[in-house]
C-alpha cells in the first residue's frame, strides 16, 4: 500500500499566528482517514493547503507520485481530489441537478463553440448525476433550488456533487457538523459504502468522536499546526499526548475542553470577499 495523499512539513502563518507548523499526514489508498484536533489546530487550513485554496509557506503536498503543492483549486480538483466545506458551499440559486452538472463539467470540456453553447453537451451527465442524488437520498429534490434544501441535505448535495467528478480522494470538512443524528448515520453509511464497494479514499475532519472512531481506519491528530500522533483509532484513543492535547479524560465527551494558548478561529478563507 502506498500513500495516495501525503503532506510533508507544511508551514503556514497568518500574520503572527502559525496556523500550520510542519503538519504531516498520510492517507493510504482505499482507506478512510480521519483528521482531528482542537479548534484552531489547523485542520481546515491543512485542507485548504491540500486543495489549493491556500498556498503553504513551506512544505510539499504529494498526490501519488505527483507534487501538487500550490496548484490552483481547479487543477487540484481535476487531478482527482474533491472536497466539501465546513460551511457547505453549494450554489443556492441553481437547482440541485444544476449544482451537480457544474461539478460534472470538470471531467470533460466541450471541444468547440457549438458544444459550449449547446445543451446536449452534458445531458449524458444527467443520468449519472441523478444516480448519485439517488445514492445520497435527495433525488426527489433534483429540480428544486439548492438554497431551499435543509442544512443536512446541503451536506448530502455537496457530497454528491464532489463525487460526480469521480475524484480519487474525497476530503470532507466536518461532514457531520450541525446535522441531525439520523442524517449523520446516513452520511457515515454512504461513506462506508463508497469505501467498501468502490475503494474510494476519504480524509475527513470531524469533531464528532463517535463518527470518527467508527469510520476511520487511521486517525491523525493535529495540535497547534503540527502532527501529534497518527495511527489506528485504538492507539490514538489511548495515546497520552492526544489525551492531554485534545480529548480530555472521557472519549465519549463531544465537547472538547478549552485548550490553553492562542486559540484562534480557523481561518475560513475564500469566502468570496473579493481579492
Amino acid at each position: 500500500m502506498t500513500a495516495l495523499l501525503r503532506t510533508e512539513g507544511i508551514m503556514k502563518a497568518y500574520g503572527g499566528v502559525q496556523a500550520l507548523n510542519g503538519a504531516e499526514i498520510e492517507v493510504e489508498e482505499g482507506t478512510v482517514a480521519g483528521l482531528i484536533g482542537p479548534n484552531g489546530s489547523g485542520k481546515t487550513t491543512l485542507f485548504n493547503v491540500i486543495t489549493g485554496y491556500e498556498r503553504p509557506d513551506a512544505g510539499e503536498v504529494w498526490f501519488g507520485e505527483r507534487a501538487i503543492t500550490g496548484l490552483a483549486p481547479d487543477k487540484v480538483f481535476a487531478a482527482g481530489i474533491g472536497r466539501t466545506f465546513q460551511l457547505t458551499r453549494i450554489f443556492p440559486r441553481l437547482t440541485v441537478i444544476e449544482n451537480m452538472l457544474i461539478a460534472a463539467q470538470a471531467k470533460d470540456r466541450p471541444r468547440n463553440l457549438l458544444a459550449w453553447l449547446g445543451r446536449d453537451a452534458w445531458t449524458h451527465h444527467r443520468k449519472h448525476a441523478l444516480e448519485l442524488l439517488e445514492f445520497v437520498g435527495i433525488a426527489g429534490h433534483a429540480d428544486v433550488l439548492a438554497g431551499s434544501l435543509s442544512y443536512g441535505q446541503r451536506k448530502l448535495l455537496e457530497l454528491a456533487y464532489v463525487l460526480v467528478a469521480d475524484p480519487a480522494v474525497v476530503l470532507l470538512d466536518e461532514p457531520a457538523g450541525g446535522v441531525n443524528p439520523t442524517l449523520i448515520n446516513m452520511i457515515a453509511d454512504r461513506i462506508r459504502l463508497l469505501n467498501a464497494e468502490q475503494g474510494k479514499t476519504f480524509l475527513l475532519v470531524e469533531h464528532n468522536m463517535e463518527f470518527v472512531m467508527g469510520l476511520c481506519s487511521t486517525i491523525t491528530v493535529l495540535e497547534s499546526g503540527a502532527t501529534v500522533v497518527s495511527g489506528p483509532p485504538d492507539i490514538v484513543r489511548t495515546d497520552k499526548r492526544v489525551l492531554d492535547a485534545y480529548l480530555g479524560a472521557d472519549l465519549d465527551e463531544e465537547d472538547e475542553p478549552v485548550v490553553d494558548g492562542p486559540v484562534v478561529d480557523e481561518p475560513v478563507s475564500n469566502e468570496g470577499n473579493g481579492r
Partner: protein, 346 residues
C-alpha cells in the same frame, strides 16, 4: 404550447405596431423602446447572469455611436450604406470590452461597480477631448433621405431585429453550459473556480457579448437621432435607466429585461414630452419609480407576478413543482435560502 403561443402573439403585435400606429411620434416611442430593450437584454447577458452589476454599458453604447459617426465622416459614407457600418460598431464594442473586462473583472461587487463607472467617465472625457470626436459639439450623422413615416418605421424594424437577435443570444446563453457557469459564478465564484469553471474566461466572454450587442444598438441609436455628443453618447442616466428597467422587470430573466424596457422607456419619453414635467422633473420621477421598485418589488414584475399567478392557480395550496418557490423541506434551511428571495439585492 401556451407559452409558445404567447410568444407568437407578442411577435405579431411587435411587427404590426408601426403599421397600425404609423404616426411618427408614436412609432418614435417604439424605436426607443426597442433600442433600450436590446440594451437591457445585453445587460442581462452579463450582469443578469453573473450578478456583476455593470454601470459602464454606456461605454459601449457611446463607442458604437462614435464608431459609426467617425467611420461615416472619414470614409464619406452616406445614405443606407451607413447601416453596413453596424458590424464595425459591434466589433468596436467587442474590442473595447476585452481590456475593460480584463481590468474590471479582477475585482468584485462594489469595487467592480465603481471601476465600471470610472471607465465610463474616462470614455466621456476622451469623447470631449480627442481631436477626432468633434469635442463637445459631437458628431452629426450623414443625412438619410427617408420620408418621416418610413423613416420611423424602418428604424423601428431595425431596432426590433436587434432586440430579437439579442433575445435569441441571451436565450441560447441561458440554456447552455456557458450560462450555467455564469450563474454558478453569481452564486459562489470561488467554489465554481474550485470545480473547474474558468471564471475569468467565462465572465469575460459574457462581458464581450454584452458589450458587442450594446455597441451595435448604440450605432443604430446614433443614426436614428442623427447626432451624438459626449454627454448623450456617454450618459450616466443610460446605465441607471438600464438597471431600473431590469430591476423593475425582474433581475435575472430575459423577459424581465424586455418588459422593464417596454414600460420605462415609453413612460420616460412621455413624461419628457409633458409640459408639466419640464426640466429634469421626469428624471426625478424616474428616481421615484426606482425607489418604489426597490421598496415594494425588489425582485421585479416577472418573478413576483409569476408567483402570484401560481398562488392564484393553486388557490393557496402549496405549489407542486415550481423550482422558484421554496420547497417543502425548507423549514430548517439556512441563510442562503433568504438570498433566493432577495434576488437582485447583491
Amino acid at each position: 404550447m401556451a407559452k409558445g403561443g404567447g410568444l407568437v402573439v407578442l411577435i405579431v403585435l411587435a411587427v404590426l405596431f408601426p403599421q397600425v400606429y404609423s404616426n411618427p411620434s408614436v412609432v418614435n416611442y417604439g424605436v426607443f423602446a426597442m433600442i433600450f430593450a436590446t440594451a437591457a437584454v445585453a445587460w442581462h447577458v452579463f450582469s443578469g447572469n453573473t450578478g456583476y452589476i455593470s454601470l459602464g454599458q454606456a461605454v459601449f453604447y457611446g463607442s458604437g455611436a462614435y464608431a459609426m459617426g467617425i467611420a461615416a465622416r472619414d470614409w464619406h459614407i452616406e445614405g443606407t450604406a451607413v447601416f453596413e457600418l453596424l458590424p464595425l460598431c459591434a466589433a468596436v464594442g467587442a474590442v473595447i470590452a476585452v481590456p475593460f473586462g480584463l481590468i474590471a473583472l479582477r475585482v468584485r461587487r462594489h469595487t467592480f461597480i465603481v471601476i465600471t463607472i470610472a471607465v465610463f467617465f474616462i470614455f466621456q472625457l476622451m469623447a470631449f477631448n480627442f481631436w477626432f470626436t468633434g469635442g463637445s459639439q459631437g458628431l452629426d450623422s450623414p443625412f438619410l433621405t427617408w420620408a418621416p413615416v418610413p423613416y420611423y418605421q424602418n428604424f423601428y424594424y431595425i431596432a426590433l431585429a436587434c432586440t430579437a437577435g439579442a433575445v435569441i443570444v441571451a436565450w441560447l446563453v441561458g440554456r447552455s453550459r456557458f450560462g450555467l457557469q455564469l450563474r454558478a459564478i453569481r452564486d459562489d465564484e470561488d467554489r465554481a473556480r474550485g470545480l473547474g469553471v474558468k471564471a475569468m474566461r467565462v465572465k469575460l466572454s459574457a462581458f464581450v457579448m454584452s458589450g458587442t450587442i450594446t455597441a451595435l444598438i448604440g450605432g443604430v441609436w446614433f443614426y436614428f437621432i442623427e447626432n451624438v455628443q459626449p454627454q448623450t453618447g456617454f450618459d450616466p442616466l443610460f446605465d441607471l435607466t438600464l438597471v431600473l428597467m431590469v430591476f423593475l422587470g425582474g433581475f435575472g430573466s430575459i423577459s424581465g429585461a424586455v418588459l422593464g424596457a417596454l414600460i420605462i422607456e415609453p413612460l420616460s419619453l412621455w413624461m419628457n414630452a409633458q409640459p408639466a414635467f419640464t426640466g429634469s422633473l421626469s428624471e426625478v420621477m424616474l428616481g421615484a419609480v426606482f425607489l418604489l421598485v426597490v421598496l415594494f418589488m425588489p425582485r421585479g414584475i416577472v418573478p413576483t407576478g409569476g408567483e402570484l399567478i401560481t398562488k392564484l392557480r393553486t388557490r393557496g395550496r402549496p405549489a407542486v413543482v415550481p423550482a422558484t418557490t421554496i420547497g417543502p423541506l425548507s423549514a430548517s434551511s439556512g441563510p442562503s435560502a433568504n438570498s433566493v428571495s432577495s434576488g437582485g439585492a447583491r
